[in-house]
Symmetry: C2
Subunit: 159 residues, 2 copies
């Protein structure tokens, strides 16, 4: 295995570890626990689950792998803070969305040629990419992994 | 720049972003805020700062870059949970340790040849490494970055 393949595999492994760990933890929480705030006055668990599902559902678009599956999540979990929108998806609904979003990514990532990870992501121009080649699809994956870990640290407080 | 160099640079950039972000946030918190719990009954901010400093102080040993600087942190912030040891370093002391630990890593990482990141880390055997070449120094860096993001998500709740 060459070094670029090893580095992509390491990044994919780290991503999948965080996804699996978070998914497992969420599935062990009750709906009631997920409706609690992670700390007094802070986001509720249900909001963070929706927020992560929404941001990961956009990943295929940024990585050039196709359209998002749940466009309706954006307004609720990305554009609006928690508790500003009354009518949000039920916990049971988010529990169904979570594996669909993440299984899709797992399948797409498994098929993706290693070299594609070093191409520019779809939300930046060729010109910017020439200036900084680290702003590639791999760096999007690393950043999303850290973003997931960040919120998982908060979701963990629900138990 | 070849792809293995780009991937190492992306990982280093993601690490440094989390370090800088966390360091900046901690420096903006008062000592009183850091002595609060991140959520009722959970770790105090001061413990998490010590925990991160302790675990990052061990990084040079795992990466083959030399001995830790603060061996005394281990018993307090890695082996023992929060509030089980009364006599822990003052917040002011941890504020001094933080940049020393992280500036050292920044300097060492800048000097490290790209190929070294693909060598096995010091806490595993040659045999295990042969079975799984993704368990290299780069994967240690990725895992520590996620660990940092995880706890930063919690420290953020102090404000």
């Amino acid at each position: 295995m060459d070094q670029k393949t090893i580095s992509v595999n390491s990044a994919l492994k780290a991503w999948q570890q965080q996804v699996d760990r978070t998914g497992r933890f969420i599935s062990e929480l009750s709906d009631e626990q997920l409706l609690n705030e992670i700390a007094p006055g802070k986001n509720r668990g249900v909001y963070l689950v929706g927020h992560l599902a929404a941001i990961h559902d956009v990943l295929p678009e940024i990585l050039g792998l196709g359209k998002k599956t749940y466009p309706e999540l954006r307004a609720i979990f990305l554009d609006a803070p928690d508790r500003t929108i009354q009518d949000i998806p039920a916990v049971s609904e988010l529990r169904k969305i979570w594996p669909i979003v993440h299984d899709r990514l797992k399948n797409e990532f498994a098929k993706m040629p290693v070299d594609d990870w070093f191409k520019r992501h779809e939300s930046m121009t060729d010109e910017d990419f020439e200036k900084d080649p680290t702003r590639n699809k791999l760096s999007v994956l690393l950043n999303r992994t850290n973003h997931l870990a960040y919120h998982f640290g908060q979701i963990r407080l629900l138990k």
